[in-house]
Structures are given as C-alpha cells and as structure tokens.
Symmetry: C2
Subunit: 323 residues, 2 copies
C-alpha cells in the first residue's frame, strides 16, 4: 500500500476528534464537573481540534438518569449551556449506540441543535439498524459517521459487506474501531487499506478509534493516518475505558499542521488532568494487555484492575480457559 | 522495503534480550534485592529469553561502589552467585559504556567469566573507542554488539560511516538506539532498512532498543522486527529510565515462536513488579512526551517527574527556549 504524505506533510483531509468526555465518561460514569467540561471545550477551540464529542445520547427509558452524569444523555440544552451558540470552528458530536438510543425522539433537527455530527456505534450484525439511524440523522441535517466496533472478532467478508452497505448510505465517514486493543500496526495498515479501497468508489472518509491495551493506540492511529485514514479519535491523557485511548497530546504533537496547537492541551492537563488521574484509574496495565492479546472484551480486565487483583497468571489462564 | 515474515511466522533470527536490570537499574541506582535478581534469572530461563543483561561494567575508578548497587559494576563473582555455572540456554550480557569502563582490566577472558556477550554503548563521535572495545571483547572470546546511542540527533551520513566501520569490525550485531524516544514507527522502519542494507554485505545482525516517551517503544520494536531487525531489547513492565522501554510481556505476547513463554513473566510480575512499581517511578508521563517530541535527553523530564512538577506548559517553553 502507498504512503499518503510523510512526516512533514500537512494532510488537509485530517480531522481530529476529541472523545475525552465520551470515552473518558466510561471511567467515571460521566460525572465531570461543569468547570471541567467548559475548560475542555475552550481547550479544544484553542487547540484547533476539529470535533469535540460530548458523550452519548443514551435512552432515558433504558438508563436511569440518576445513576449517570448528564453526558451519558447529552441533552441539547446541557450542551448549549457550555457552548452557547458555539461561534467557533470546533464542531460538536455525540455518539448514538444502536439499540440504546431513542434516536427518532432524542436527536432533533440539526437546525434546532448545537450538534454537528452524529456518530453511530454498531456491531457488525446490527448494521441495518445503524444505517436506519444514519439515514435519520442525515435527513435531520447532520454529518454522520459509522463506528463498526469489535472488528477484530468479525469475519473479513462480513466487514467488506458492511462497508459496501455503508458505501451506498449517506454516511460521511466510517471508523475502524479496535475495541479490544488487540490489533498491531501492521494489521491496522492492512485493515485501513481494505477500508479505503473498498469505500473509495463511494467517496467515504475513513476514521480510526484505537485502544491502548497493547500500548499501540497512538502508534496505530498515526500508522492508519500514514496510509490514508483521516478521522482520528483521541482523548486527553488517553482517558478512556480500561487501557484508554490514543493520547490527544501525543497526536497533536505529531501532526504538522500549524492549525493544531499543543500549548492549550498542556495547560488543560496541568490544571485538570493531574487531579483527574488521582480520582480515576485508566491506562495500560497487565490485565488489559492480556484481554488485548486474546482479543476479548476488556470487562474482565476492568474488574480485575478495580479489585486490585494482580494474580496475572490466574487471570490469563481464565482468559484462555486453561483450568 | 520488504516485510520479513508476517504475524504468524516464526523468525529463527530473533533474539530477545531482557535489559530489566541494566535499564531498570537507572531508576533505582541498581539496588535490586538478591531475591529479585535470582527470580528474574529463573524467569528468563523459563520464558525462553535469549539474553539477560545483568547491568553495566562501570569503572570503579570513576564511580563510587558505595553509591550504587552491585549491578552497576557486575563483578563476575556476583553474577556467578546468581547463575552458578548457568547450564541453561540463556546467555548473559553486560553493557560497557565507552569512556566509563576499564574494559581491559574488568572484562576477563570469556572462558573465565559467566558472561557470553559484551554490549558496547557509544555515541557516534566515539566510534573508534567503541571499536577498540569490541575488538578487545572479541579477542577475549565474547559475542559483541555495538549500541549507537542518540541517533535521532546524528547526521545520517555519519551514521552510515559508522555502520561501514562496524561492518569491518568483528561486531556481531549493531543496535538502533532511540535514546530520546523521539522516533515514530515509519522512521524506525526507514532507519532499520538503512541499517540492514548498509551492513548486509558484512553479515551483521541489527537490533532495536526503544524508549517509550511517545508510547511507541513496543510498536517501534515490532515494526523494526517486521522489516528484518532481529535483536530485540525489552524490560519487564517496561522498567527503565524515564518513560521506560519496550515491555517484555507485550513483546513475548506478540512473538509467535513457542519457545517464548508468557506464563513465567506473568508470575514474576505478580510476585515482584507490583511491589517494584510502588517503590520506583517510571513510564509514560507528559514531561517525557515533551523531551521525546523535541528530541532531547530526558534528564530534564526525569527531574520534573521526580519533583512532581506538573507545570507542563512552562516545561515545554523551557525545552523550546521560548522565554
């Protein structure tokens, strides 16, 4: 596969998306202070980030609003309280999970909403519902992406079929999601190439959402970029479920476009993330390595880390069904 | 450049070197308990690791033996106390720094020593001394490597010249050393390719020693492997100066050769490294990212982390001379 640009090139197709609230919210049940969210928004504006994801549009029928912070639900009014009219270049997004979002009611017309983009997260077997949601959001005036989760567990033929379906849909970008943090750079380059070549004829952009189980989140993100992926997810200090995500500070340090600025991110981190890291736990740890290595959902690793269970060999035996 | 093998290939040329004592010793001034060292040795034997590096052969004229643990000096007798006759497949190495090692006196004949390999660490401008040390060790019967440090700050023409000099020397392997953790996977592939093609005619092997400042230590190691590098350095839990190194547990998890076994490493980590991590500090942190990004020695970052100085923007301004 061909390399697109080199280390000194400004790639105009790049879009950086800050997913700190959404993926980080999985660490603290979305209980962020209003001050934190406001400062994060201002950081993103100053740092020249392209998109900021506020959280999920989760169904209030399915989830108890008293058990989560407000960014699991992302009411338009709550977002407006932070961004006002958002007269900035920063675009705003939320994530809508297939089967966990009352999208017809809860996602309003774009003209009535502070949001710019709806990101639909789906497993491969619920692709028809995902496309229905994408079409709904598109009709309401939004940019859309489709984030196909857990592809490391899916058949390549099924992924290709899904990409063809999405190619014919109005979706703007399709994300490679390494949900289990199980993929290595050479696999990411190959998968990126497959996504790009399959959807080229439809003019879709490709995105990368990486997890850090095997310490490859940042490397996988810049390697996908090198072969032509353009939508790049990251979070401040890599804050996110389990092993966390691609660190925004590393990504912005890497990108050569002078529109992106590291200084506001450094300032935000010293003011807010030092404290945040004392309150919440995320990032590379041995149980996450092991679920990544065995290509499994991190839930068992999250439980082990929470319980401070450091019996790593027993844990690995359990993952491998070696009893 | 061509890919050598794929994710399912056993590459018979691969040699894994555990540098936990040597690079980890820079974190705790080489004060490891005897029990720890013995257990690490047994772990390496059981895990099928190819080389274990015990530490430095530092000059006792230059360094006060009362200010460091014994593995900064690596007396043959101290090593023998751990390994006995070392009737195992595991080979033993030490590192000898140019200008900091009385190699003529302190490195004995291989037949009188428990050691198998001498690794000579040098900056590019002290290459003639390095080659004198390599020749000395070779004559004494040892395998040798040359670890050219800080190449991210060197001119490519100088590196090529050094590689030609080493090509004509008796050295067995030449290491790419990303001392500042400043290099990205695509640079590592290019540099690996340059090292390999320059030294091919001399039949030298190439090695990789990575640092984790930008969270690329593991990714850079496996990417160098993918293009033909065969000597791979790693440390348990990535223990090493500053941001640390490629994590041995991630590397062994990745390698497909069944001779390498993860179980003994997991057992060792749960018994020794959980406690070690409470006593000593290493691993990715923002100051290390910033020295990596600006391609500088990590000493200022090590001081900042030690002082718990989280004024990241001031630190970055200092690195960039922005006053």
């Amino acid at each position: 596969m061909e390399q697109k640009g080199d280390l000194l090139t400004v790639r105009e197709d790049v879009r950086v998306l800050d997913a700190t609230i959404r993926d980080g919210g999985l660490v603290n049940d979305f209980y962020f202070s209003d001050e934190f969210i406001k400062a994060l928004y201002e950081m993103n504006v100053k740092a020249g980030i392209d998109y900021m994801e506020f959280g999920y549009k989760a169904s209030k029928e399915q989830f108890d609003v008293n058990k989560f912070g407000k960014w699991k639900f992302c009411n338009d009014d709550d977002i407006r309280e932070v961004v006002g009219e958002n007269n900035t270049k920063l675009k705003l997004s939320i994530m809508a999970d297939v089967g966990r979002c009352d999208y017809k009611e809860d996602i309003h017309e774009r003209s009535d909403s502070p949001l710019d983009m709806i990101r639909v997260a789906t497993y491969i077997n619920t692709m028809p519902q995902a496309i229905a949601m994408i079409e709904d959001a598109n009709k309401k005036g939004y940019e859309t992406t489709c984030n196909i989760m857990a592809i490391s567990n899916a058949q390549e033929a099924d992924v290709k079929y899904a990409l063809e379906m999405l190619g014919k849909s109005p979706v703007d970008a399709i994300y490679i999601v390494d949900s289990y943090g199980s993929l290595y750079p050479e696999q990411i380059r190959r998968i990126s190439d497959m996504y790009l070549s399959t959807t080229e004829k439809y003019g879709k952009k490709i995105g990368m959402h990486a997890h850090n189980n095997q310490q490859c989140a940042f490397a996988n993100t810049i390697e996908s970029l090198a072969v032509g992926v353009s939508y790049l997810d990251a979070t401040v200090c890599g804050m996110g479920r389990g092993a966390g995500n691609c660190a925004l500070e590393a990504l912005v340090g890497f990108l050569k476009n002078p529109e992106y600025r590291l200084d506001p991110i450094l300032k935000f981190m010293e003011k807010y993330m030092v404290e945040m890291k004392q309150k919440s736990v995320w990032g590379y740890d041995i149980p996450y390595l092991l679920t990544g290595l065995t290509d499994q959902h991190p839930r068992t690793a999250i439980a082990a880390v929470k319980d401070e269970d450091t019996k790593y060999l027993d844990f690995y035996n359990m993952l491998l069904d070696r009893d």
